[in-house]
């Protein structure tokens, strides 16, 4: 697939897309589109899953609600059996109908090791399409939270096209002619763009009375945030899901540009940025030290100084605002932390960390000097600036931290092998369940290389047992979840395995000159305002159904 190939014109007028029917977006493609394989969840052209391939459910974090999508419904018929009813009248874009076989086939693919959701198969015993519309999944020991997460997070692929493929084609093939069920179909792509065009036969038009506004979506590969900023200002971009430092200034001066909130923090929150101490190293193995560290950091300075108030300081638990109901206010009141240099100093002093050699920095109780390095990828400018703030404010409290900026890949290496003092991390996105969040913090056992979770190598059997319990708690039982989470929080806040600092925003800035009715805190339309990969099923696709042309036509 040539990247610039002249793959024909669009719609009627060859070569160009009518401005008023086209949505220009950026922020979701970090490189030229390279594959359209919905099973490569993290690197297919954003929109492959969501616009072309669809999931059984959507989850709307704003309303905390699962929306049946390709599934008409789904339920646990008993503790170990989940039954999916596939929606009727859904068609693949090649004209074949979507059937229960497709769904069963897709779940079944998880048996392959190279499929990212292979892990759900650790608990699945059997999948079966009992009739055209019914799929029954038998579990050995069901992990309800994980399954709920799977249901809205993974796309269904057509069995009639995929059954013949080899494992390599399935798990690593480019799937250059994607055939899905979704609102859009592949139109063309280039080095710097991906173009989708509307699927006029989309099932939801009839079934749910939903219709996506734009005939075309031109998703622009964004090589730089600043270029996107310029394009939003000019109105050549309708939606930018880029992190645009300086947007606050623009929002105040430019009437056409808007964001979710009209004022700070302007953005919804998408994930939590943590300071991750390596708990296998001295003195980070000491919870008191970690707590002192938490108190020493001037998060406000990061929020306003570095980010210009487009992010929010995190709750001490680090739970994202949409999980607010799970935060136990009492626990937080008792064990929570806030920026307080004095307090940090006194915690240190109480725990025996004193400045014995008079260099302005504390030593360990054994008198060893403490010199910690906070490693942040070079080039990640906001984090680099943030880490300078962290180092500065920690030094105020007597903790000697210096910021270091190695190459990103070097940091990944260090992180995986545990060869670091302190790092910043934010690799857990918003989801339907805080279980994903705690799974990240506490997962055991700690391995030689920790490639995806628990980078700080924090070991607490009790906490992990609670997380496992949470995993097997039914999603429909929020009280039980709240109770378990409160217990986890108590441990978390006392132990501080990681230190939540701020919430990274769900970066989204729109220009209203061509398309209107964008999600906003001030209107009814509250869907997540982003087309990032994996966010379509969190409501991104619904945002598209709300858009209206500004010309009113």
């Amino acid at each position: 697939a040539g990247c610039t190939g002249g793959s024909g014109g669009a719609g009627g007028t060859p070569g160009s897309y009518p401005r008023e029917e086209t949505l220009f977006v950026s922020g979701s493609l970090w490189g030229p589109p390279a594959n359209w394989n919905p099973l490569m969840t993290w690197e297919h052209a954003a929109g492959t899953k969501g616009l072309v391939y669809e999931t059984l459910f959507l989850y709307d974090p704003q309303a905390d609600e699962y929306i049946p999508w390709l599934a008409e419904s789904g339920e646990w018929t008993d503790d170990d059996t989940y039954q999916i009813t596939v929606r009727e009248g859904v068609q693949w874009t090649d004209g074949e109908p979507l059937t229960a076989d497709d769904v069963a086939f897709t779940i079944g693919l998880g048996e392959l090791e190279s499929i990212p959701y292979h892990n759900v198969w650790q608990t699945i015993e059997n999948v079966e399409a009992t009739d055209d519309r019914t799929v029954v999944v038998d579990f050995s020991e069901p992990r309800y939270q994980q399954w709920a997460f799977w249901l809205y997070g993974n796309a269904i692929v057509p069995q009639h096209l995929w059954a013949e493929r080899t494992e390599e084609e399935i798990s690593a093939g480019a799937n250059e002619t994607p055939v899905g069920t979704g609102a859009y179909v592949y139109e063309t792509h280039g080095q710097d763009r991906q173009v989708w065009s509307r699927n006029e036969e989309w099932w939801a038009q009839e079934a749910l009375d939903l219709r996506v506004g734009p005939s075309y979506i031109v998703d622009i590969v964004n090589p730089s945030n600043e270029a996107a900023l310029g394009q939003v200002l000019q109105g050549s971009l309708d939606l930018s899901n880029n992190f645009l430092p300086g947007i606050a200034q623009v929002l105040e001066s430019n009437d056409d540009v808007a964001s979710y909130y009209p004022e700070a923090p302007y953005m919804l929150s998408a994930n939590t940025a943590w300071l991750v101490p390596n708990t296998t190293r001295e003195p980070m193995d000491d919870p008191e030290f970690r707590r002192a560290l938490a108190f020493s950091i001037d998060t406000e300075q990061i929020v306003s100084g570095v980010y210009g108030d487009i992010v929010q300081a995190a709750d001490p638990t680090g739970l994202l605002p949409n999980w607010e109901q799970y935060v136990d206010a009492d626990v937080v009141a008792e064990h929570g932390f806030s920026f307080d240099t004095q307090e940090a100093a006194s915690i240190l002093a109480d725990a025996g960390y004193e400045d014995t050699d008079g260099d302005g920095f504390v030593e360990t109780p054994e008198g060893e000097p403490i010199e910690l390095t906070l490693a942040v990828p070079s080039g990640w400018t906001d984090w680099m600036e943030a880490s300078r703030v962290i180092a500065d404010s920690a030094q105020q409290a007597g903790i000697n931290i210096t910021a270091d900026f190695p190459d990103e890949n070097a940091i990944v290496d260090q992180r995986v092998s545990g060869d670091f003092d302190l790092i910043l991390n934010n690799e857990r996105q918003i989801s339907s369940t805080p279980w994903t969040y705690y799974d990240y913090i506490f997962q055991l056992p700690v391995r030689e290389s920790q490639s995806t979770v628990n980078f700080g190598r924090y070991e607490n059997e009790e906490a992990w047992a609670l997380v496992e319990e949470l995993a097997t708690t039914p999603v429909e039982d929020p009280e039980a979840m709240t109770d378990i989470i409160a217990e986890i929080q108590e441990i978390q806040l006392q132990e501080m395995p990681i230190i939540p600092l701020w919430y990274n925003g769900m970066w989204s800035q729109v220009n209203t000159s061509v398309w209107t009715n964008w999600p906003s805190a001030e209107t009814e339309n509250n869907y997540v305002p982003t087309l990032w990969a994996n966010y379509h099923e969190l409501g991104g696709i619904l945002m598209l159904t709300e858009l209206q042309p500004a010309s009113g036509g």
Binding site: G31, N119, E427
Partner: protein
């Protein structure tokens, strides 16, 4: 003659070999593991899945064999014309990705190099004979050569692009268009091409102008110029000869500067988000995409070498002196 080119070709082959080896070695001996970084981005839920996939992809990319074998495999597949599969743009073949970017880079570089060379030499030649021009061309030339490529690009992008709004400052053509043979599309291509081209052109221009001016002055002092003047040849003829002869070192200069110009184009492409090789290289580095990096780098090296070779040939054609010396010095 044959010996001369044989020798040149040998140097070029050696350069190619060393360049490719360096480029192969460096990423592999540095920290970081591309597959790991890839999977890190995937934020997979379970460590088991992650480990399984790590092994799977290492096998896929051929990273599971010992280094020496990887190295041999690298040359073996290169011999087959196979540049491998991109890690970053998985699973696109590196060759395809590069072929998509090369036209853009060439479109910037060829005109910028050739035009700046021609125009620069022309200006320089005039400057050498004209006090007033000399006093303007020279300082401007120095400022231009001393300008970092990206800074000039920034100024142009800011001044002509953002403030004046005359030119777009990113991409290769309007996002509202798909490639086609329409005048609209071609116009858009040109519009997007202009600023990056201009910045490359301007920076290179100064150097040529200055070089030419100085060379002409030297040529005008040479014995044959003196002799012509003593025989009453008009200024015009003397100048013409001087210009012709001053061109030759400039031609060598061109060969020597190619690498630099290519490098400059990388920076310019980055400033203007121009989808050429520069942008690819930067991304390949960020994503530890060994294979893409190797491929893009190979293209640059091969391009520079071929261009050098062409210049070598041209040089031999226009300068009888080299021809004679190559034959082992008749006379």
């Amino acid at each position: 003659m044959r010996r001369y080119f044989g020798r040149k070709l040998f140097v070029y082959a050696l350069t190619f070999f060393i360049a490719m080896t360096v480029n192969w070695i460096i990423p592999r001996f540095m920290p970081g593991d591309p597959v790991q970084s890839r999977l890190a981005r995937a934020s997979l839920q379970s460590p088991e899945a992650s480990a399984a996939m790590q092994a799977y992809y290492e096998r896929l990319f051929g990273l599971d064999v010992p280094l020496w074998q990887q190295y041999l495999n690298f040359w073996a597949s290169l011999a087959r014309g196979d540049l491998g599969i991109s890690i970053w743009l998985f699973p696109q073949p590196v060759g395809d990705i590069i072929l998509g970017a090369v036209p853009y880079s060439l479109a910037l570089l060829l005109p910028a190099i050739l035009l700046s060379w021609v125009v620069g030499n022309w200006f320089g030649a005039y400057a050498a004979r004209n006090r007033w021009l000399d006093n303007t061309v020279l300082p401007v030339g120095y400022v231009l050569t001393a300008t970092p490529y990206m800074w000039l690009a920034l100024l142009l992008a800011w001044g002509l692009g953002i403030v004046a709004g005359l030119f777009p400052v990113g991409g290769a053509y309007s996002f509202a268009l798909t490639p086609s043979a329409t005048p609209e599309f071609v116009g858009s291509l040109l519009q997007h091409w202009f600023l990056p081209f201009l910045s490359l052109f301007l920076v290179a221009l100064g150097g040529w102008a200055i070089g030419m001016r100085n060379m002409i002055i030297y040529e005008l002092e040479s014995d044959y110029s003196n002799y012509l003047e003593a025989l009453g040849a008009p200024r015009r003829l003397v100048r013409r000869y001087a210009f012709r002869n001053a061109m030759l070192p400039q031609l060598t200069g061109l060969a020597l500067q190619l690498g630099t110009l290519v490098a400059g184009s990388l920076l310019t492409e980055i400033v203007f988000s121009y989808p050429g090789l520069g942008y690819l290289i930067l991304q390949a580095i960020r994503n530890q995409d060994f294979f893409l990096l190797q491929g893009a780098f190979m293209f640059i090296v091969v391009g520079v070498l071929i261009a050098n070779f062409i210049i070598d040939i041209v040089y031999v054609l226009v300068d009888p002196r080299t021809r004679i010396q190559m034959q082992g010095g008749a006379a």
